[in-house]
Each structure stands twice: as structure tokens, then as C-alpha cells.
């Protein structure tokens, strides 16, 4: 072969090699919620150790981004599993179906709580109610018959038992699934609890407008959206000891030396109180599996079965040890996986 022929052939070979490899894939690919990421990577690692398949790849990026990639289509170029810290929306199911992803298996892996904690040695928050959060963070409050700008500047303005510290709260940004839970289970609840919702109705606001007003947060810098991970929230608390942050229960349990927990309605978050429903600010965590990939991508079926096995996701398993609250209905989920039961198509 002449040098010249070789020079032309080399890039062609590289292109052919890359093209040939693009279709075959021998590892499971997962993406989505950064809350589910630690759990999925713990399972992926244990799966790689115990089975002859390659260790699955777990990427983060947020629930919505993961589900969007999941719904891109069917084939080795798309991911097999989407992690989500909220249930899939009807619009996402429809988008999936439009791209040919019509059979989705929804698997609830367990529960996670959102806890409120401050820096050890900083302001001491003992107990919150949903109403405290609403009154502290809402942009406008119904005062004297009109929607007035939120006058509360210190926690002690909100409730006398809270510390006399300036309100600075670090809460998950809108791209996080956690934010949705915070809005639904804390702000909306607080809005109703304090009577603000009724007051808004009395002012003639319709249901949607009132709900939107309940979850609209103040923009004067007292409510800070954190778009990064909990490590960023922790760093913000380090520089502002009177601030309070929202964390996942598992994150708190790995940083008990630096964070002080506040109870919610008098209930301390723990695996027991979350499982029993006594601790209100919790949400289920999901993985969504593409049924068309089962049996095509090597190891996908084994991985999903391994994920929901009692040894992994049950009480005392590695996930529970890291901070996941085990799902009491895990056995039903296992049957669902074995039967390959898919979700109903969007209406």
C-alpha cells in the first residue's frame, strides 16, 4: 500500500469503526434527577460487581432533562432508564409516544424527604410549619383586602417561636423536581393553612390565580433559588450562618456534623416518619424504563430486577443505608416489573 493510499484510508477506517460501534451498546444508560443519582449509582456499582454485565452509566441533569432524553426515541442511541424525583407528566408521556416510546414501565423505588436545616452554630430553627414558610417567602400576602408586598423581614415576624434572624432561605431552583414538592407540600399547604387562600378567594381571585399567587416567591433576595446541588446550598449556609436551606434527607444524613435539623409540624424526618406519612414533606422517587429496550440492551432486565430486589431497595439494603426511605409496597413493584406492566397512554 502506498503512503498516499494509507493517508486516505486511515480516516475512512476510523469513521467506519465509529459508525459500526454506534448501534451496538453493551451497557445500560441512565440519566435524570440528581436526587435519584446517588441511589442509581449505588445500584449500578453493586450490579457491576455481582453480574457479568458492564457497570451501567448514570448521568445527572435533572428529572425533566432526563425524561426529555428518555423520550427522544427507541434505539441504542437513546437512554434506557430515566430517573425522576416526580411522576412523569401527561405531556411527557405524549411526547414519548410521538417519538415511538409508547411502552414505559414506571417503577417507584422509595421515598425521600425534604428537610430544612441550618449550619451548626448558626441561627437555631426548632420547628417549622407550612404556614411559616408561606408567610416568609411569598411575594405578596393578602393584607387588609389587597395583595400587599410581603412585609416580613425577620423569622420572628413570621412566628414568635422562630429566631430573631433575617429571612434568607436557600431553596431548590425551578429545574429541580424538588422545587415542585416544595411548592405543593409547603407553600400551597401553608397558603391554605394560614387562611391566605380563602382571603384571596374572598378578594375575587379565581382558583388558578390564587394558586399562582401562593407559590410566587419574593424577589427581594430573601428567597434564593439554588440551581446547583445540595453542596451549593451547604456552601451558601457556610457563608451565611443565619440562613436556612432545603436538603434531601440523604444529604443531611451524610452531613450530620455540619447541619442542624428543624422539625416540621413537630415531626423529625426519619425513615420511619416518612414511611408512615407523619413527616409531610416527602415525595416518591421513580425510575422509568423503556420496555422496548428490555431484552435488547444486555443486562437491562437484570438491572431493573436487581434494583427492586429486597436486598437492594428493601429495609437494611444499601439504598436504605444511604438514606432512601424504602417503599412498603416493593413486592407489588417487583411483580409489576416481572410482568412488564406498562403505563396507560396519555389521554
Amino acid at each position: 500500500m502506498t503512503d498516499r493510499a494509507r493517508a486516505y484510508l486511515a480516516p475512512a477506517c476510523l469513521a467506519a469503526l465509529a459508525g459500526g460501534m454506534a448501534e451496538a451498546r453493551d451497557n445500560v444508560q441512565i440519566a435524570g434527577s440528581s436526587t435519584v443519582l446517588p441511589y442509581a449509582s449505588i445500584v449500578a456499582e453493586a450490579f457491576g460487581e455481582n453480574f457479568d454485565f458492564r457497570t451501567p452509566v448514570v448521568e445527572s441533569g435533572g428529572s425533566s432533562a432526563g425524561l426529555k432524553r428518555f423520550c427522544d426515541g427507541v434505539g441504542a442511541g437513546t437512554i434506557d432508564i430515566a430517573n425522576a424525583s416526580r411522576p412523569i407528566r401527561a405531556g411527557e408521556i405524549a411526547a414519548c409516544a410521538a417519538n415511538g416510546v409508547s411502552e414505559i414501565i414506571e417503577i417507584r423505588i422509595g421515598y425521600d424527604a425534604i428537610v430544612f436545616a441550618s449550619r451548626t452554630g448558626g441561627a437555631e430553627f426548632d420547628d417549622f410549619s407550612a404556614g411559616d414558610w408561606y408567610l416568609a417567602l411569598a411575594e405578596r400576602l393578602p393584607l387588609g383586602g389587597t395583595m400587599a408586598p410581603n412585609p416580613n423581614a425577620r423569622w420572628s415576624d413570621v412566628a414568635p417561636d422562630l429566631p430573631d434572624a433575617a429571612i434568607t432561605a436557600y431553596i431548590p431552583g425551578t429545574k429541580h423536581g424538588t422545587r415542585e414538592v416544595f411548592e405543593e407540600k409547603v407553600l400551597l399547604e401553608g397558603c391554605a393553612e394560614t387562611g391566605a387562600l380563602d382571603a384571596m378567594h374572598a378578594m375575587g381571585m379565581d382558583e388558578d390565580a390564587a394558586e399562582a399567587a401562593c407559590i410566587r416567591l419574593r424577589t427581594d433576595g430573601r428567597s434564593v433559588d439554588i440551581d446547583g446541588d445540595y453542596t451549593e446550598t451547604l456552601a451558601r449556609l457556610d457563608s451565611n450562618p443565619t440562613g436556612i436551606g432545603a436538603f434531601g434527607l440523604a444529604f443531611y444524613e451524610n452531613n450530620t456534623g455540619t447541619l442542624d435539623l428543624a422539625t416540621f409540624d413537630g415531626v423529625a424526618p426519619s425513615a420511619e416518619t416518612v414511611a408512615s406519612g407523619a413527616y409531610p414533606v416527602s415525595r416518591p422517587l421513580f425510575i422509568y424504563v423503556k420496555k422496548a429496550h428490555l431484552g435488547v440492551i444486555p443486562g437491562l432486565r437484570d438491572f431493573v430486577e436487581f434494583f427492586v430486589s429486597d436486598a437492594v431497595a428493601g429495609p437494611g439494603g444499601p439504598l436504605a443505608e444511604y438514606g432512601l426511605v424504602p417503599d412498603p409496597e416493593l413486592a407489588a413493584t417487583r411483580r409489576k416489573v416481572a410482568a412488564g406492566q406498562v403505563m396507560e397512554p396519555a389521554q
Binding site: Q29, P38, E45, A46, A250, T256
Partner: protein, 449 residues
């Protein structure tokens, strides 16, 4: 009156060469001031560097040591080989969960052997060990099935909190709310340390190891991600070197000077200033969504970094070619060489040290780049297994050193924070090595005219 204003007769008449007049003193003072400003600027720069380096080294050094527990583990046949066949395929049916109680009771036996009284159950006591320890024992047994039925001594990883205690990161007060470890565990660790069972030593696993999940930071290493970086740099070198140098030579030596080449030149300079995240988006769109190359593959990462590095190689390469005096070209042309001969036989060899320096600096920049890798799937739990070979090294999912550091810095366990700093130390050593090569090349081959 300004310095330049013409002087009167009276002033010049009184001037002495020995006693400086007011104006000279002012000028000298201005010079001294400027020198002082310069010194201050240099000192501030060095000060920042010193702070940065001491912070990195202070935070990163603990990652290079790790706590291990040396235990004699009984491997009863009934547990590790229930079929009794010594067939690794059948023995693999016993998962790591089956090995866990063996380690817990081995630790309990060691604690009892030291005469330490404790009311903790073996399972609770076992929290001292890493969650990765059962996997280590299982791997050893599967590699050598004859170990079944014997007692074997293993050097096992201790959990990250025990490791943090030995490094002074975790204190007893920090464990008050901890579910995994009690202060009582630390008392036992203290006694085991005296007995030499728990020991902190050099952490080779950090340099050669793979990424680990969030529940076992003690097992995480940067080796696989470093290999991913090496494969990406190979792609960058193989593509950016020929294309960059060819483009630079053509533009500098052959291209006609017209509006089109002006536009190209301006665009190359602009490309060099484009933020790297833009190349990541481009890579996602072009290589993954259109060309269907695999996600998270070092090949794709290398291609993206090539795009980013190309203008950064072309510009110094052109500068190196311009620095070769025209007399060299003219002399070559004068004795009858063709234009190509003049360039390749005379100009290029003289410009080579400058070009190589530019390439190495460009590679070093690409090595430290994280932003474009965010978008092509190299962040997450990716670098968990070594590639099987060269093709697998290019195509199978892997991470890169800066992406791995970013990922570790995000994780919940403070032990990962320490590893992120350790990763920075490793990355800096790589960068320092590359820059050193650039300096040596320049020193050895540079010519001045």
C-alpha cells in the same frame, strides 16, 4: 511647567552634576515608584499562587492516604460455594450481600480477640468496614475458588467516616446524629489502631482506581478518568496536530492575501475566543444527535476538544512561522528550491519548536477543560470500569479528570470533597508535566536571529 518645557538661562546656569536638582529628584522618585508598583504586582501574583497551592495541597494530601483494616476472614463453603462444585460460574450466584455477614463476624472476632468488650451486634460493628469490602473478598474468591472453606487474611478498606476520623476530619461530636457510625465505633477503632489492625497508609487505589458510588467514597480513584483523559488527548493530538499545522502553513506561506483569507483569519481569532461550552453544544448536536456516535465516549470528547483546540494551535503555529526570517525563504528560493521545498526543508524545521510548544499548551488547556464535557454525558457515575482495550478505550463510556473532579465536588459525603482536591493535585501534576515538556522543547531547539 512640564518636564519638556524649554529651560531658561538662569536655571541651566545653577545646575550641578553632583547635586540632583528638584526635577531630577522627581524623575528618580517616579521611577522608583513605578518599580515598586511592579514589585507589588509580582508579589500579589505570587501571593495568590502560594495561597492557591497551599490550599490545594493541604486539602488534597489526605486523599493520598487511606485507612485499611487487616482481618482474617473465614470463608465457609456453605456460604461462598453452596453447590460445592468450586465452579466460579455457580459461585457467582452468591452476591456481595452474602459475603457481608462473613466480614462482620470476622471483625467481631478480631474485636473480641483484642479483649474489647462491646454490646454492638456484628452487623452494627461492621459499619467500620467499607461497603466495598464484601466485593473485594468476593472477587478474590471467584478468582481463586480453592479459597472456599479456608480462612484468608484480607486488607480491607475502612468506611469513609472511620478514615475521616483518622485524618481528623470527623470528630466524635459530628457523629451525634449519624445513623451509620457511633462514637462507640471510634473507641473500638482507637483500640484496633493500637493493635495494628486498623492502619492508615499510602492510597495507591486513589491514583489507579475507578469512580465509586456515593455510599463508598473510600473506594473512589481517579485512574479510570485519567485514562479517559489520555484517550481524549490522543484524539486531539491525532486530529488537531495535522489539521492545525497544515492550516497554519497554508495560511502563512501559500494563501493569497485577499478578502477571503482576511475573513478566515479573523474567524480563526474569533473561534479561539469562543467559550468552550459552545463547543460542547456543537458536539452534542453534530456528533451525538446527527452522527450517532456513542454518548460519554472519549472519542466524542476528543472530537469536541479538537474543535476547541484547533484555533488555539493555528494561532501560535502561524506566529512561529512568521518568526522565521524571510531571508531563510529567499535564500532557499534563490538556490532553486520550490516554494514547498523551501517551506518544508527550511522554514518548518526552524519553526517546529514554537509550533510544538503551541500544541502542548493547547493540549494542556484541553486537558483541563470541563464545560464541553458536561453536555456529552461525561459527568455522573461514568468512570467505573477500566476499558477492555484500545477500541473500548475510545468508544466505551468514560469520564475525564476535570469532569471527575467536578462530579466529586458535588457529592454529599464530605469524603468526596477531599478526593476532589486530591484529583486537582493529580491534574496539576499532569499539567505541570506537559508544560515542562513545552519548556524543555523550547529551550533545546529554539533559535534566535
Amino acid at each position: 511647567m512640564t518636564d519638556q518645557a524649554p529651560q531658561t538661562e538662569a536655571q541651566t546656569a545653577h545646575r550641578s552634576l553632583y547635586a540632583p536638582d528638584a526635577r531630577t529628584r522627581r524623575r528618580n522618585a517616579a521611577e522608583r515608584r513605578f518599580r515598586l508598583y511592579g514589585l507589588i504586582a509580582v508579589a500579589v501574583g505570587l501571593g495568590f499562587l502560594a495561597v492557591l497551592l497551599t490550599t490545594i495541597v493541604r486539602n488534597g494530601l489526605p486523599a493520598f492516604t487511606q485507612t485499611h483494616v487487616t482481618l482474617e476472614v473465614a470463608l465457609p463453603e456453605a456460604v461462598v460455594d453452596p453447590a460445592g462444585t468450586r465452579d466460579p460460574a455457580l459461585m457467582a450466584k452468591v452476591y456481595t450481600f452474602g459475603y457481608e455477614p462473613l466480614l462482620d463476624s470476622a471483625l467481631a472476632a478480631a474485636v473480641a480477640g483484642q479483649g474489647i468488650d462491646t454490646d454492638m451486634t456484628p452487623a452494627r460493628l461492621g459499619r467500620i468496614l467499607s461497603a466495598g469490602a464484601p466485593a473485594q473478598v468476593r472477587r478474590a474468591v471467584l478468582a481463586d475458588p480453592s479459597l472456599a472453606g479456608q480462612s484468608v487474611t484480607f486488607r480491607l478498606l475502612a468506611s469513609s467516616r472511620v478514615d475521616g476520623y483518622l485524618k481528623g476530619r470527623v470528630a466524635r461530636a459530628d457523629l451525634a446524629q449519624d445513623r451509620n457510625l457511633d462514637p462507640q465505633h471510634l473507641d473500638i477503632v482507637d483500640e484496633l489502631r493500637v493493635a495494628g489492625i486498623v492502619r492508615r497508609g499510602f492510597n495507591a487505589g486513589f491514583i489507579t482506581g475507578a469512580d465509586a458510588s456515593e455510599s463508598r467514597p473510600e473506594q473512589a480513584g481517579i485512574g479510570v478518568a485519567a485514562l479517559g483523559s489520555v484517550f481524549m488527548m490522543l484524539v486531539v493530538l491525532a486530529l488537531a496536530l495535522p489539521f492545525g499545522v497544515a492550516a497554519a502553513i497554508y495560511l502563512e506561506e501559500f494563501a493569497p492575501k485577499n478578502r477571503l483569507t482576511d475573513v478566515i483569519e479573523v474567524n480563526i481569532s474569533n473561534l479561539a475566543a469562543v467559550p468552550s461550552i459552545v463547543f460542547g453544544i456543537l458536539g452534542l448536536a453534530a456528533f451525538i444527535q446527527v452522527a450517532h456516535l456513542p454518548q460519554s465516549a472519549p472519542l466524542v470528547g476528543g472530537l469536541v476538544l479538537t474543535l476547541m483546540t484547533l484555533p488555539r494551535i493555528i494561532i501560535p503555529a502561524r506566529a512561529a512561522l512568521t518568526a522565521v526570517p524571510p531571508s531563510i525563504r529567499e535564500a532557499a528560493l534563490g538556490v532553486g528550491a520550490s516554494k514547498t521545498q523551501a517551506v518544508f526543508h527550511h522554514v518548518l524545521p526552524l519553526a517546529m519548536p514554537g509550533i510544538l510548544t503551541g500544541i502542548i499548551i493547547g493540549l494542556a488547556q484541553a486537558l483541563g477543560e470541563t464545560a464541553p464535557l458536561l453536555l456529552i454525558g461525561m459527568i455522573g457515575f461514568v468512570a467505573s470500569t477500566y476499558p477492555d482495550g484500545v477500541a473500548s478505550g475510545f468508544l466505551d463510556p468514560n469520564s475525564a479528570m476535570p469532569a471527575q473532579i467536578y462530579e466529586w465536588a458535588k457529592r454529599a459525603d464530605p469524603a468526596y470533597y477531599e478526593r476532589a482536591w486530591g484529583g486537582i493535585v493529580v491534574l496539576l501534576v499532569f499539567l505541570l508535566g506537559m508544560n515542562l515538556i513545552a519548556v524543555i522543547l523550547r529551550r533545546r531547539f529554539e533559535r534566535r536571529w
